[in-house]
Symmetry: C2
């Protein structure tokens, strides 16, 4: 019985998808257009190309083309760590004594330790292809910066990372991984940029913020010849690249004739969730199949479950385009004690629109429960999961336990986006029993949401 | 052309070896017997069973049985992360512009981050099977402790790790991984054991040593009912379990009709090297094939290239059995500035005997060169390698460059034993350009070697 479906379903290299899937093409009601922050009008490819590579700007605004060819150079890079395994969690099933079948798509088997690499190599490739010298970006926890550093090293492209100063100092290991791959990592706010100098002057000794780092990275991109800015989540282009996760998952399930009942993903900016669910949501949009799709977000930063669906800035610094999305307000700062990542105030406009159309449900979970699930998973399945990914684990375990009550043999599929090797400070808090939960009050949320930009 | 052999050769789960291979069975001249430290006579299974599990004591002393069945419970655990990929390093080949074909067997795709898990689960299984409550061990850098913690968590076995105090304090992340898996991690010297209390009294404020940690772990094992001591390298039982690496490598090569010309492995205590080369050395011993087998050791701890072949204690504390091996003397302490692991004074008695019979050659490399190779590898192949593993990378690159000179299309196979996520302090030194090499003088070596025990 156990032997019928292997522990790990690996696609052959020639079964790896040759195209990314753009779920927007199958949406009758499209996500609202993103707006130029200066004019509050829908942004054009030309305007967007001042910040992003031209090909990426095109991908960002294309909501009709269903498939994009994955260039051979990117496929070649993918083959170093893809296809990633779809793993049957036999040991977890046995531990839970559930009749449910649990599968997880594991994206952590690469040095960046997460799914971020899928889009990093794509964005770096288009930059290289456009003849650029390099790219700039920001990083908070460091997963995106690591992925981008690896992609740039591979393509021999300059990589400038503005790393939130407190992370730069408190997460020296992530910083050193990036440096090993040849990236230039600058603590933000820095004295390299006008905005950085201004913030340093206004708030001497500040330890920085993601919003500030984005503003510095964007300024660095537009003020240097041959550079563009790249971003690791939220954008529709990123979801497009991340669709490789869902496409491979679906191909692996189909190979063994498995029909998923539930698809579960953690949700921060939406890049992993959007990529994982895209082909399944596409089937639902085309009326071909039905799935319970569940987005799991932290109770400390509940954009889907407690946010509003409105136009908002994508960044705290308000230099990036505005998007219509579920948001807590770009001024919302999640509690610093939240260790589980996913600390983004908004949500991918694609995921937001799918959610608004009722194609997926959302739930929020508290971080101590998330770490309990992470530890259980690590003990029986071996992999030490990233706190972000563990939000999905928590929901998958909850659903599997429901199946135990009802006796249902559901096929539960979740996305295991990455590993937790660089998150041991959070695990230590958990191990020491001093991890705390934080749930914003209605008052907290009201304040941030009341400051949303006025867009008609 | 590139498509003929995939980037990653994965065996099917049903192609995973069902037996470990004991290379000693094919050796006409066997490794010298290990000796009881009290009597200096060959130790018996009964004597050894006071410290080790009985089944493991039997495996340790059995030099005639060629194959040992891998119990289904261990195979089930293996399936969570095995078969591990044999990867064709296409990108490295292209970077080096070499006609050589480079393959590496990657053992880092599990949370312990190294090959250590292959033996940890076996040792934990036999302990569980004997009805024991738990096991004790020591750990320096923490890879072995992590692997054992994972194995014990899976089998619900108590795991007590004595971690060298300076590592406990300077490597808190490794410590926290072990704690997350439920292990009890104690900084050594501790006040739990007689030997620990004695050392603490003699050397107040000492930051410990591996020798002291071994002594504490052994004392903890023999003084608690239902506990035994386990060790992650050097022992013949460990090489037996690690033969899975070589067996899978050979099966993957055979699957594609590839005949290896060179097999390269890093060498510390010899567990990875011995496991990787076992089936190939077996072929050589049986006169069926020939290979260039190369052991790569750090210039700072050159047991094969500059040691003597003699009986020595396996541990600095002199509580473990004596083995005949290439050794620098159990009193030899490699420079603390050496970041690359592999800091063991001796070498597996099996590897030592094979080396003495001329079945393999050895070379030593300096750590700055090792890190240069590691960085190059990371940039083109994506994986951030462990410093230990990078010794093999360095030699593989050197050999591939020789092929570039000669035009030979050699098939070079090396073992990539693990990842470097927890070694970023060393990478930082390298990135900052402050890493130093250390090569012991002849005088240094003479002193330690002169103190070898007298065994007739």
């Amino acid at each position: 019985m156990k032997q019928e479906i292997p522990y790990k379903i690996y696609l052959e290299e020639n079964e790896m998808p040759r195209q990314w899937y753009n779920v927007r093409a199958d949406m009758k009601k499209k996500p609202a257009p993103i707006l130029n922050p200066a004019t509050l009008k829908p942004i054009t490819v030309e305007e967007l190309s001042a910040i992003f590579c031209e090909e990426l700007a095109k991908q960002e605004l294309d909501d009709t083309t269903p498939y994009f060819e994955i260039p051979e150079e990117i496929r070649s890079f993918y083959r170093m760590y893809r296809p990633s395994p779809l793993t049957r969690a036999y040991c977890l099933e046995e531990k839970l004594q559930t009749p449910a079948h649990i599968y997880y798509k594991f994206e952590g088997n690469n040095t960046s330790g997460s799914h971020k690499l899928n889009s990093a190599i794509a964005q770096a490739y288009y930059a290289k292809n456009q003849g650029l010298k390099g790219v700039t970006t920001e990083t908070g926890a460091g997963q995106w910066g690591t992925a981008l550093s690896m992609a740039c090293a591979y393509l021999d492209l300059d990589c400038q990372v503005y790393m939130v100063k407190c992370s730069y100092e408190q997460k020296p290991f992530r910083r050193e991984v990036m440096r090993t791959y040849g990236a230039h990592v600058t603590p933000s706010p820095s004295i390299n940029t006008e905005v950085g100098r201004k913030i340093n002057a206004e708030f001497p000794g500040t330890s920085g913020s993601l919003g500030c780092a984005i503003s510095e990275a964007v300024e660095a991109a537009v003020s240097q010849k041959g550079y563009r800015y790249v971003l690791g989540s939220v954008l529709s282009q990123v979801l497009l690249h991340q669709s490789i996760i869902g496409l491979e998952t679906k191909a692996a399930l189909d190979k063994y004739g498995i029909k998923a009942d539930m698809i579960i993903g953690c949700a921060g900016g939406g890049s992993n969730l959007g990529g994982l669910i895209s082909p399944f949501a596409g089937q639902m949009l085309r009326g071909e199949a039905n799935y319970d799709i569940i987005a799991v977000e932290p109770a400390s930063c509940p954009s889907l479950t407690r946010g509003v669906y409105a136009y908002d800035f994508c960044d705290t610094g308000k230099v990036c385009p505005l998007a219509k999305m579920y948001t807590l307000g770009s001024g919302f700062i999640p509690s610093a004690n939240h260790a589980g990542g996913l600390r983004y105030h908004g949500m991918s406009s694609v995921v937001s629109e799918l959610y608004d159309q009722g194609l997926l449900t959302a739930r929020s979970v508290e971080q101590t429960k998330v770490f309990e699930a992470a530890q259980l998973f690590a003990k029986v399945e071996g992999i030490l999961p990233a706190p972000e990914s563990s939000h999905a684990i928590k929901a998958a375990i909850d659903e599997a336990l429901k199946c135990k009550e009802t006796g249902e043999e559901k096929n539960i599929v979740f996305g295991l986006t990455g590993t937790g090797y660089f998150d041991m400070v959070a695990y230590q808090k958990f191990n020491d029993g001093v991890m705390q939960d934080y749930i914003p009050t209605d008052e907290d949320l009201k304040t941030a949401i009341s400051k949303l930009p006025k867009v008609d």
